[in-house]
Symmetry: C2
Subunit: 202 residues, 2 copies
Amino acid sequence: MSKGSLYIVSGPSGSGKDTILKEVFKKCPELFFSISTISRPMRPGEVEGEKYHFISKDEFLKLIEDDMLLEYNQFCGNYYGSPKKPVLDALEKGIDAVLEVDVNGAKKVREAMPQAVSIFIMPPSYAELRRRLSGRGTETEEVINARMKTALDEIARASEYDFIVVNDDLSEAVDDLITVIRSQRLLLERQKNIINDLLKNA
Amino acid sequence: MSKGSLYIVSGPSGSGKDTILKEVFKKCPELFFSISTISRPMRPGEVEGEKYHFISKDEFLKLIEDDMLLEYNQFCGNYYGSPKKPVLDALEKGIDAVLEVDVNGAKKVREAMPQAVSIFIMPPSYAELRRRLSGRGTETEEVINARMKTALDEIARASEYDFIVVNDDLSEAVDDLITVIRSQRLLLERQKNIINDLLKNA
């Protein structure tokens, strides 16, 4: 059996990335979605293993030491990372895996696994991005500008990705992401067994 | 505007390639389908410009001399070829073009246009291929074996292609071919304008 493919998905706040991934997950339950590990206590409403695995800082530092993370990051005193083993196990079994990371995390994963396919999700326009980041009109101009700067800095790195999905219409963006994943399964590399099996009988 | 992509589609007799392409054409009328030029007189029932453009042998030799063909072939005294200009015109306008050629034609087009994406359509198994090539049971073993040999020789060259579409279920094979075409439109190269437009406003 051929191995699975690894998909790196990134997108700035306002790209609708989380909503798209949720829909893709629903439509393609055969995909493995990597769950991040985080070194902070659970907050009310959070569920272990849903969006994060919660571990202690010492446990996290041990993961780093043992090279058990595809990428990690420190933010506000907490560590965030993507555990390596579950992803490699899925790929080995022929299961496609999806990893949601930011542009820096994507760079690290790409370096560690150059065969990974990366997809950047972006808003359709500057005006629409600003609208989405303005919330319900309760934010100050300053807060909105800071959010815009962060998002635009990420979009400036979209050209590091293999595929670009523009989220103008949600269901179209979901279909686009599925199209990328489905197309990779049709690549010669993934279909060689079928050719060889047919010719073996000749 | 970004340029269109060129898709080379091949598949042996029994792959269902013609039926698949007809369906893809119906579902994606925005695609340009290249029409072959042939140096023989029209047969009853044939329509100029439908499957072929009919020209004289002298006109064909002039096309070869003027380097106006992406690929050509001689078969039973007649010349067959793919005119270059309509394809290049479509690509220039940002229209994706589809070229149906055999494995030898595909090789020539790939050499002339290395950016072309090639797709090989194949039957799901040896047994099913044999069943499809046996017709309605009216053929001799000898005829069937000759057809099998031709098909298997082509399948042995499937690994020259970028993508492999297996035609087990027709509608799935149609979707697969459309998936390949749609995925290529999401490649960074084809989406760079959107990124640049958004950042230009920043």
